[in-house]
Amino acid sequence: MGKNKYTISVFTEDIVGMLNRVTIIFTRRKINIESIAASESEIANIHRYTLVVNESEEMVRKVVLQLEKQVEVVKAVFHLDSEVVYQEIALYKVPTGVLVSGGEAEKIVRAHHARVLSVEPAFTVIEKTGHKSETQTLFNDLEPYGMLEFVRSGRVAITKPMRTLKSVVEELENY
């Protein structure tokens, strides 16, 4: 069965150890988690984890049911890229001296719609939000100038379907 990129959103009670409970569902099945992000949701005390995996739909469906089986998981859903609006953020630390000579820095930052967050004598920190391919292109363009440090966040995603978490929670609370 063909594999696809899926975004899995897991909504949980906000308690210690939840991340472990979520990730062991994947590790047990030897599924690589390509990226993961944890944050609050729009509802107090409910946290959300956004995970990206490359797997078959059947496997993802089973994993999501296993996630929902966890006592403190409120809801888990999965979506294809076309069903979510998603974003990642990347930070690049490059040597200031090399970058500014010849005006290349400005050209690159403009071309990529990136932002300069900080300029120090020794280094400059550039920020770019976008899909992985976009932040990767900027990485490729900056690399010749010497990449001192690079970091990219996990994907965060908003789902396109209109069912709100609030309505799910209300239904569960009135169960």
Binding site: D14, I15, G17, N45, L65, V71, V74, E173
Partner: protein
């Protein structure tokens, strides 16, 4: 700060607290004390409030305050001292399986806690309700590699239904209430509450409120009538319907409803080994055991039925064999409480999500009264084939060496079949499942999913302590017996009248059988040079007998069954006997072999 749990959970918990839902509690006469007390006293009072009157455990440094509190309540809450924490947890499992109540065990931190893990994993895969309480080092020492510190919450996470670490005394009543609620509700399972030593010493104003629900956990799916109707239509038009039933029947206490359902529909019904005893063995619609060493007819005819109705079972690989050739011709109805089991292994035509009892109560009125006598007789014909080719030789052998089946059969013949049978894992387990006959539910206790050798002896002890008026017979191989035989000490100390039958073939028989069949008889590490079991067991003051001749078997079984106290019967059986039928790994169920 006197929040019952830490702050973020407040909303979830408060909202769902309903004081009036007392029916979920196993209410006893003993009323917990209220008011200011230590955390460890709160542990004990919470257990009393949950109706616990018997628990199993093993003390140690980090759990000593709880043991100290137990000392004051010996009358209300009896503690059974196992000889190893694994023994304690298997005993709690045996207790839970025999009584339907939550099994409770107690252990210290570090090695005490890790020794529980096998039993917890066993309980998880076999859906046994357990509450395990472990001591933990003081909270300021967490993460410092302190003496006997281990991350038991982390270690047990993949094998518990829920776990929680308590670091403050005031969290204790809620944590224990929640633990019992989660362990026993929905699809039951093991939970673990890890309590730091400072929380045990701390002070709490104890007021016990039973836990009744939380938004993130719906133990029973809301029953949707549409799939029930769809299932009824399929069943009503089926020509060759076939039912597979599992432990779901026992766990949801649906034995009566299940029997009414099959008797109305006239559908032949076969069981998984965890479903064994949910329907009496001699029921006219009981067509036997599914799976790798199950009966010939139900395996063979799985691939000939037109509608397959699975009730409270999960299509384990030992049941299905090769999935790509499993019941492909059939429309599958799956009645199941756990949504993650639907379409996990076998694709369903109709999935009925719900508690077996609730579903059957609604389904039975919708199905037509029918009989499927011709179809049923197909089962009986194949059963005769199996009898001629396998059972006859097993039950009434002409060989010099005794067979496991004939020992089982002898016990059957001499008892009223109201025994609780507990088995270990291996050939003797399959023989016990195949040949013991049952009249009452919850009378077969075996480690099914995990296949835990060493399970039997402590589980039998727990079963006996939970059902003191029933005859509890432990049937064990010589291998598994030696994995937990230290629990003979517990049996001795508590005068638990467990009857122990060791079927001794001086081999790790099941592995040896596979070596014979699939590894060219290369018996790597399966021969056992055994000690003098008679001497060992006698050392515990338990009556023993060893039978090596067929002529002595009947009298020895009689002596065992008549014994008022524990009795150890060792029977020398054929060393290289095999269990048949068999569905070899990778084969289809219909390729089941009779030899």
């Amino acid at each position: 700060m006197l929040e019952p749990f830490h702050v973020p959970l407040k909303g979830a918990l408060q909202m769902n607290f309903k004081m009036n839902k007392m029916e979920t509690l196993e209410v006893k006469n003993t009323i917990p004390k209220l008011g200011l007390m230590t955390g460890s006293q709160a542990v004990v009072q919470a257990l009393i409030a949950e109706g616990v009157d018997l628990m199993f455990g093993y003390p140690g440094g980090a759990i000593m305050p709880v043991y100290d509190a137990l000392y004051d309540v010996e009358e209300e809450l009896k503690h059974v001292l196992a000889r190893h924490e694994q023994g304690a947890v298997h005993a709690a499992q045996g207790y839970a399986r025999a009584t339907g109540k939550v099994g409770v065990c107690l252990a210290t931190s570090g090695p005490g806690a890790t020794n529980l893990i096998t039993g917890i994993a066993d309980a998880q895969i076999d859906s046994t309700p357990l509450v395990c309480i472990t001591g933990q080092v003081a909270s300021h020492l967490l993460g410092t590699d302190a003496f006997q510190e281990t991350d038991v919450v982390g270690i047990s996470m993949p094998v518990t239904k829920w776990n929680f670490q308590v670091t403050r005394a005031e969290e204790i009543p809620m944590a224990i209430a929640k633990a019992f609620y989660i362990a026993r509700s929905g699809k039951p399972g093991p939970v673990l509450v890890d309590i730091t030593k400072d929380a045990q010493f701390g002070e709490v104003d104890f007021n016990y409120i039973p836990f009744t629900g939380m938004r993130s956990y719906q133990p029973k799916p809301k029953l949707d009538l549409d799939p029930v109707k769809a299932a009824a239509n399929l069943i009503n038009s089926a020509k060759r319907p076939f039912i597979l039933f599992g432990q779901g029947i026992i766990l949801s206490k649906a034995e009566k409803e299940f029997k009414a359902f099959i008797e109305k529909t006239g559908i032949p019904s076969a069981w998984t080994i965890l479903g064994l005893s949910a329907l009496e063995s001699d029921h006219y619609l009981n067509v036997g055991m599914l799976g790798m060493h199950g009966n010939y007819a139900p395996n063979k005819l799985t691939n000939e039925c037109d509608v397959l109705i699975a009730v409270g079972m999960r299509f384990d690989d030992r049941i299905t064999g090769d999935l790509s050739r499993y019941a492909k011709q059939a429309k599958v109805i799956h009645i199941e409480i756990d949504p993650s089991e639907i379409d996990k292994n076998v694709k369903t035509e109709v999935a009925v999500l719900g508690d077996a009892k609730e579903v059957l109560t609604v389904l039975t009125p919708l199905v037509k009264k029918q009989n499927h006598d011709n179809w049923l007789s197909t089962f009986r014909d194949l059963e005769q084939t199996e009898y001629n080719e396998v059972m006859e030789d097993e039950l009434t052998p002409v060989t010099d060496a005794m067979t496991m089946g004939e020992v089982v059969n002898e016990i059957n013949l001499q008892s009223d079949q109201n025994n609780v049978i507990v088995t270990d894992v291996g050939q003797h387990q399959m023989m016990a499942c195949r040949y013991f006959k049952f009249k009452q539910s919850k009378s077969m206790i075996t480690s099914g999913g995990l296949g835990t050798m060493g399970f039997c002896l402590p589980a039998a002890l727990g079963a006996k302590m939970g059902q003191p008026n029933k005859e509890v017979i432990a049937v064990i191989g010589d291998g598994g017996f030696q994995m937990t035989l230290q629990e003979l000490g517990t049996i001795m100390q508590y005068k638990a009248a467990v009857k122990i039958v060791v079927l001794n073939n001086e081999f790790l028989g099941m592995v040896r059988q596979w070596q014979e069949m699939f590894f060219d008889k290369r018996y790597a590490a399966t021969t056992m040079i055994n000690p003098n079991f008679q001497a060992i067991v006698s050392g515990y003051g338990i009556k023993t007998k060893k039978v090596t001749e067929r002529n002595d078997l009947s009298e020895a079984v009689n002596e065992m069954l008549c014994s008022e106290e524990s009795y150890f019967l060792e029977v020398a059986v054929g060393k290289e006997n095999n269990v048949f039928p068999m569905v070899p790994t990778g084969a289809s169920v219909s390729e089941i072999r009779l030899s």
